[in-house]
């Protein structure tokens, strides 16, 4: 697996000069680090060998008639040709002793008996040769830290510490575009398609030991070996967040017992996730929110949080949302407030939620955050900022980032409420690993996720 994600050379079988073809996308992503180029695009630094019978040169790279015409060693083979033509190429891969294979093409087990047979033939060849195979019917893989973009995805995502593992390739494409827009960083992106050989369990095992990955976001439709999945996920050293599609299926079928009708497939998945310590997300937004929290923040060790706000109304709303999501407000000791009395506006709330009043400048945020996080009854913090004329989002963000360093054991989440004139402060927080949201309820729910 390590070789698939960190190859020194890659061959693209079915490389094409035609931008409408998948084989063009793969080659361009490798060469330029993206089909559409952004500041996050990172070209592959090793050797790239396009393989195509009819071309001499594509995208300025010398073309080879077959994999076996390449003289140099090839670590990774990405196969972007129609299903029917794949088997002979796999045999070339074995001869060439590649260290990993990705089959992009669809038209295998997902299409019926014939495709299934073809897939089985391929699997038996690669298993015998002990070459790991990802796919078929997948988007490919990205390692932002290598860097390697061996996909036909439209863009390369920013570098980060969340690994995204997806059974669906098309979904992953859109998430990558979203990630570029929202500066959401990924360590690895793996679209595993039919998982004919390497399956979701193998990928989780690999990511569990991956130094660049701090949390795993997983999209699944179905898991074949549920029992092994529970073992692997239970042992995984990184937090795993999952979205499971297909809750409407089954479950309602007429069956012979009460239990049969109550324990539909989706409910069983949820029970299994829970028993394996997997975080469950209802939506894709939650999936990436939770993974962001878990990859950047320490856990909330006790159910006792403090809320700091420069707007009274938002403090009350935040307390409501805490109650709704099962979070308790901490009761800091009088000592914490005595420290603050001299520094605060005389109308400050002197209790949790701590309202430091609308005209709060960064120094008040700094004092309040320090007082709350150093209090032993407080185990996590929500910092709310509303935008007043004297508010400085960027300076407030800096204060929060420095508090993060001084109190590494307690999670911090921010709700910077606003838009255009709050954006720069939010970006500063994001860039320094502090999750920040525009919506209060979303910030509270995300703090709740960290509760042990």
């Amino acid at each position: 697996m390590r070789d698939i994600f960190n190859p020194r050379s890659v061959a693209v079988i079915g490389a094409s000069a035609d931008p409408r073809k998948v084989g063009h996308g793969v080659l361009k992503n490798l060469k330029d680090g993206g089909f559409f180029l952004t500041k996050f695009s990172q070209p592959f630094k090793g050797e790239i060998f396009p393989v195509n019978l009819d071309s001499k040169e594509i995208l300025g790279l010398r073309c080879y008639r077959s994999l076996l015409h390449v003289k140099q060693p090839v670590d990774l083979a990405v196969i972007a040709i129609p299903a029917k033509a794949v088997l002979p190429v796999i045999k070339d891969c074995v001869k060439k002793r590649v260290k990993g294979i990705i089959i992009i093409a669809a038209g295998f087990a997902e299409t019926g008996e014939e495709g299934k047979k073809l897939q089985q033939q391929i699997v038996s060849v690669v298993k015998k040769a002990r070459i790991p195979l990802i796919g078929p019917n997948c988007l490919g893989i990205i390692n932002t830290h290598a860097p390697l973009n061996a996909t036909f995805a439209p863009v390369m995502p920013p570098k980060g510490s969340v690994a995204f593992v997806s059974q669906s390739g098309a979904l992953a494409d859109s998430i990558l575009d979203w990630a570029v827009e929202n500066r959401y960083g990924f360590s690895k992106v793996v679209s595993y398609g039919n998982s004919a050989d390497v399956d979701v369990n193998d990928i989780l095992e690999f990511l569990s030991a991956d130094r660049e990955t701090k949390a795993i976001a997983l999209y699944v439709e179905g898991i074949d070996d549920g029992r092994r999945f529970m073992q692997v996920a239970g042992r995984c050293r990184k937090p795993v967040v999952v979205v499971k599609a297909g809750r409407a299926e089954g479950g309602m079928k007429a069956v012979g017992s009460h239990t049969g009708s109550l324990a539909g497939s989706f409910e069983v998945y949820r029970a299994a996730f829970r028993q394996s310590g997997i975080y469950y997300a209802d939506t894709l937004q939650e999936l990436f929110d939770y993974a962001w929290m878990l990859s950047t923040q320490p856990r909330l060790k006790r159910n006792a949080v403090a809320v700091i706000t420069n707007g009274g109304g938002c403090g009350v709303l935040a307390a409501d949302y805490c109650e709704m999501s099962g979070l308790s407000l901490a009761a800091p000791g009088d000592g914490a407030f005595r420290k603050l009395d001299r520094k605060m506006h005389h109308a400050y709330s002197r209790r949790n939620p701590l309202d430091i009043v609308g005209d709060a400048l960064p120094d008040r945020y700094e004092a309040a955050i320090g007082a709350m996080l150093s209090d032993s009854s407080v185990h996590g913090l929500l910092v709310i900022e509303t935008l007043q004329t004297m508010t400085s989002p960027v300076e407030n963000a800096k204060v929060i980032v420095s508090a993060r360093k001084r109190f590494p054991g307690k999670p911090i989440v921010c709700a910077f409420m606003g838009g255009k004139f709050t954006r720069e402060g939010k970006m500063y927080l994001e860039a320094h690993g502090i999750p920040v949201f525009s919506q209060l309820d979303r910030a509270v729910r995300n703090l709740r996720v960290l509760l042990v």
């Binding site: 898991i223 549920g226 529970m230 017992s257 239990t259 109550l262 324990a263 949820r270 029970a271 028993q275």
Partner: protein, 205 residues
């Protein structure tokens, strides 16, 4: 589907307590049995064919005396000729459901819920993939939405969580030890502060 007798035998093997139950062949035997077990009595079909027995009038509860038992026997044997009829002593307590099935991906799973509308209408059940730990079993009972109901409301005492946990663990072991059993319903299980007893069982093999 397993016969009533075989089902109860399996429950016994895994230490799961079933209420004292007798299959009766005549109205005299029904009356004698009810007198021996004590009133009020419950009568129902031990049918392997009917799932929702209450809906078709195949269950009669709160039979106060011999006469009520005998006339119920006559009524049921006329309506469902050839089906075995059973007599039990009516046990009071909270009606619960414990069940298990085999999932194609995850293998045996065990469910727990409060019987009646909580399960039927609200689908308020907790579930675990077997094998269960004792902690799983206790968590399941506290995780259903109506969990406070089990803790005793309006003068009723809290159910015996330990006994129920034991029953859940027994079902988990049964499913792992008996691969031939596909699904099972213990419905209802009746529990109070002292005991937890299976009153009806269906096992599908």
């Amino acid at each position: 589907m397993l016969s009533f007798r075989d089902s109860v035998k399996l429950l016994n093997k895994y230490g799961i307590r079933h209420s004292k139950t007798h299959i009766v062949k005549s109205k005299e035997e029904a009356g004698d049995t009810a007198e021996k077990l004590g009133f009020p009595a419950v009568m129902k079909l031990a049918s392997t064919r009917i799932v929702h027995k209450t809906d078709v009038g195949a269950v009669r509860v709160g039979l106060a005396d011999r006469q009520a038992v005998e006339s119920s026997f006559e009524h049921m044997s006329a309506k469902f000729p050839g089906e075995p009829v059973i007599v039990q002593h009516l046990i009071k307590g909270m009606q619960l459901i414990i069940g298990a099935k085999r999932d194609p991906q995850f293998g045996p799973v065990v469910i727990f819920g409060i019987g009646g509308i909580f399960v039927e209408l609200m689908r308020d059940v907790a579930m675990r993939v077997a094998p269960l730990s004792e902690r799983d079993a206790l968590e399941m009972m506290h995780e259903i939405k109506a969990a406070r109901f089990l803790e005793g409301v309006r003068g009723r005492k809290q159910v015996n969580f330990g006994k129920l946990a034991g029953m859940l663990l027994g079902v988990s072991k049964l499913m792992l030890g008996q691969p031939g059993i596909k699904e099972l319903d213990l419905n209802p299980v009746i529990a109070d502060d002292k005991e937890a007893v299976v009153v009806d069982v269906r096992m599908i093999s």
